[in-house]
């Protein structure tokens, strides 16, 4: 775990033999600004920013292919237990709300993919959104498939970024 002195944002890093994961808090302001810059109107950017957002880097550091499915991950905390909200979960809302095509395309590719197959040395960065309000503490259970088996790890004491105080 590392907290940046200037921004106050915390990054959690976890790794085992085959997989590494980095979860960097994003402030609601950062999320708002990013999606406003991609063509979202203020209300829709606010809807995204009201969630718990992490910039995530996942890397296959082993010698076997691994498969990730975010719907098999869980955040557990006082709000209950739920998988992350993936792009697929959001797109119906964006279509219904008539969000501009360019904004919907950017949203899709900015989010960490809901499912992905990583060969050795493959890695991706993308946002993972949890259905939790800012500043919520939670535990994350991540799961991945490797060599025909499901593996699991728990990352306790994570916290969503909150609105800056003062």
């Amino acid at each position: 775990m590392h907290t940046d002195a200037s921004s106050g944002l915390t990054t959690w890093t976890w790794q085992d033999r085959s997989l590494s994961l980095e979860l960097a808090q994003l402030l609601p302001d950062q999320t708002r600004a990013f999606f406003r810059g991609r063509g979202f109107d203020p209300d829709h950017a606010e809807l995204v920013a009201s969630h718990c957002v992490f910039q995530t880097i996942l890397r296959n550091r082993g010698d076997q292919a691994i498969k990730i499915e975010l719907h098999r991950w869980n955040s557990d905390g006082r709000e209950g237990s739920a998988p992350p909200r993936t792009n697929r979960d959001w797109q119906a809302t964006w279509v219904q709300e008539e969000v501009a095509d360019a904004a919907r395309i950017a949203f899709r590719w900015a989010l960490f993919p809901g499912e992905h197959h990583f060969e050795p040395s493959d890695w991706l960065m993308g946002m993972i959104l949890f259905d939790l309000p800012p500043a919520t503490p939670f535990e994350l259970t991540l799961r991945w498939r490797e060599d025909g088996e499901t593996h699991e790890a728990r990352l306790p004491d994570l916290r969503c970024a909150g609105e800056p105080s003062g």
Binding site: D4, L9, A24, A33
Partner: protein, 181 residues
């Protein structure tokens, strides 16, 4: 531009760039058997149309990217260096931008100058026909139009191992290599 906007954008860049770390260096995933590459027919920043078929007989590197994607920005200079090194030997690099307009890309290239073709997949229809789930994803197409290698996530594309693999791909498909004794 307001002060708050500058601070926020600064924080975004610090946060997004801090985590990108080192690109994997020389690793490409070999694809066997090699599937036929999907079609690619897009215009570049100058309005010139490119199709993958235009480059039949050459090794083509197809890189899917966006300006807002930190790993994409990280690897772009190495794609330019690869183009500088192997372009004169016949290698082609095509950067396929996903979902952004020409003006945004044009301004972006002031900070990230590249002179290989940047193609516009404005409505993201082209990327949907390729096996891509996240960006950056890069494919190496052999001279017969098949996908030979894939890389998910940034790489140092001018790493000697990658340069050698691409040269080897060209050599094994050159007319001289297939001519009868």
């Amino acid at each position: 531009m307001t002060t708050m906007y500058r601070i926020t954008m600064g924080l975004i860049l610090v946060t997004l760039l801090a985590g990108t770390g080192a690109a994997d260096t020389g690793m490409l995933t070999g694809i066997e058997p090699r599937p036929e590459a999907p079609p690619l027919e897009l215009g570049d920043l100058d309005g010139r149309e490119h199709t993958l078929g235009d480059y039949r007989g050459q090794v083509v590197v197809v890189n899917f990217w966006a300006t807002w994607c930190p790993p994409c920005r990280e690897e772009l200079p190495s794609l330019q260096r690869l183009w500088d090194t192997l372009g004169p030997e016949g290698l082609v690099v095509l950067g396929v931008n996903v979902g952004e307009d020409a003006d945004r890309i044009f301004f972006f290239t002031a900070d990230y100058p590249v002179d290989f073709p940047l193609l516009l997949d404005l409505d993201a229809n082209a990327i949907d026909t390729w096996p891509v789930r996240g960006i950056p994803t890069t494919f190496v197409i052999d001279p017969e139009g098949r996908i030979a290698y894939r890389a998910i996530g940034a790489r140092e594309f001018d790493h000697p191992d990658i340069v050698e693999r691409l040269r080897e791909l060209r050599r094994t498909h050159s007319p001289e290599a297939t001519m009868p004794e």
